[in-house]
Assembly symmetry: C2
Amino acid sequence: MFTGLSAFPLTPLANDEVDFPSFIRIIERLAASGTDSITALGSTGSYAYLTNAERAKVTHLSVEHAGGIPVFIGVSALRTSQVLTNVNEAQRAGAAALLLAPMTYQPLTADDVFGLYKAVSGNTDLPIIVYDNPNTTHFTFTRELYGRIAHLPGIASIRIPGVPTCPAQARKHLQAIRAMVPSHVTIGVSGDAFAAPGLNAGCEAWYSVVGGTLPRLALRMTRLAQEGHADEATAESERLAPLWSLFTEFGGSLRVIAAIAEHLSLVQNNSLPLPIQGLNPNQRTRVAEVVKALGLAA
Amino acid sequence: MFTGLSAFPLTPLANDEVDFPSFIRIIERLAASGTDSITALGSTGSYAYLTNAERAKVTHLSVEHAGGIPVFIGVSALRTSQVLTNVNEAQRAGAAALLLAPMTYQPLTADDVFGLYKAVSGNTDLPIIVYDNPNTTHFTFTRELYGRIAHLPGIASIRIPGVPTCPAQARKHLQAIRAMVPSHVTIGVSGDAFAAPGLNAGCEAWYSVVGGTLPRLALRMTRLAQEGHADEATAESERLAPLWSLFTEFGGSLRVIAAIAEHLSLVQNNSLPLPIQGLNPNQRTRVAEVVKALGLAA
């Protein structure tokens, strides 16, 4: 279950409240796309900004509208007790697994983070995906900590934040992680620009921002890599370089992918939670040009 | 009102729930100490970890037990709409002012942060303290952004994250900020090791972690600097160097100040919100030695 493409949908807002009708349409579109799984309430799903009631409703709607595709639910929160509340809601909704990042406000130690995963592991029978996203959590995992956590009951996968783009270095990087992690725990790449290098180097999954909004694009690249067409997967990733460049230039993938979803009328305008403002008009023009040049609307 | 010592109390937990009786005793102790103001629900008050109900109760208890001393309330949250909810609660409780940090999960732009302060400024008549704490928010203010925000209605003070320890450099640093900020907006130093350098260089306030747990110590240093005894304030700060060193060595002030409060029986053990674990036994021994050597219990 923790292999192939996991698509991370946006949780769109309208007038600064969650736009549930648009969210349902996004989930149904993903369900129809053939993605291997859906991960709702990841960073792309703005989980950190939602109220408890909004998170609970998004959790239930995700499972209800996924047409039987496995749904993983992000349960992260700053406080362990709140994480456990989110875990209970995900269980009630019928989630297939949990995605858990070590959110920080005060910097956390390795023991704090291990304690968090241990607490969740001990309080659920659902599989857990370890969510390593230093750009948002500001926590840096070591391979040793991957190993400690991966040996806890129920740990099913680790979402790593990218790999070296050089194939030989990427394989070496993956092997070093794999040496610390039991074989039943899959390793999934994130950071969409690293998807082809990661899958080609042996990552079993791609936890994908772009897959949540442009699933066909992400599926094509995933299948190429899975079927051993490493060069074609690399070529497709290189073709998309203008998109990856926008992610870097505009401060991460979220604002760009939201602008794309707004441009394609998948969501309403101003779909991000304040204080996060969307891209400005000049930036949106650049996004529209890339959407057109790369045929992303197709 | 935004001058002198503002003491930042802990919000202690017991069995992972807010320990309201201990919190009330902390507030009453601060009220009796002669501190110029109390700032509840700052970073030291673990605001980011509390439920809405816990934050509301802490807000009301702070004002009710402060004996008329001005109480500033931290209203920060990741989402602007939640900040405005916290603002309403602080107003209802009778807070004297609001403390507002640009909390981040997704990195914020300067325009996002300006928009946040503008939204709060436009929705309250309470004075606002700008809370610049890059260690926890991971947002870096520029002097230009200080200036833009400081010109909004209601901005009363800026809490800066430390100054150079060299007196001449500290004065220059303050003057550069002051040049961007209207004269009615006070500048307050934080990072307790920088209190004496900051006050001596012209900061009008000290937003103090140590003041929330060891108010007499903080008041003595504040008054020395305010009364022009710069050398004595510096000497007192240098005497406390072993305490400042623990803050650095143990990953910030929060775990150390919580360990001191636990050691002095002001709060119960394990007073921090999980996943944040307290210091380990060896670290606590080191803290106890510094408490004894510096006479902090007096």
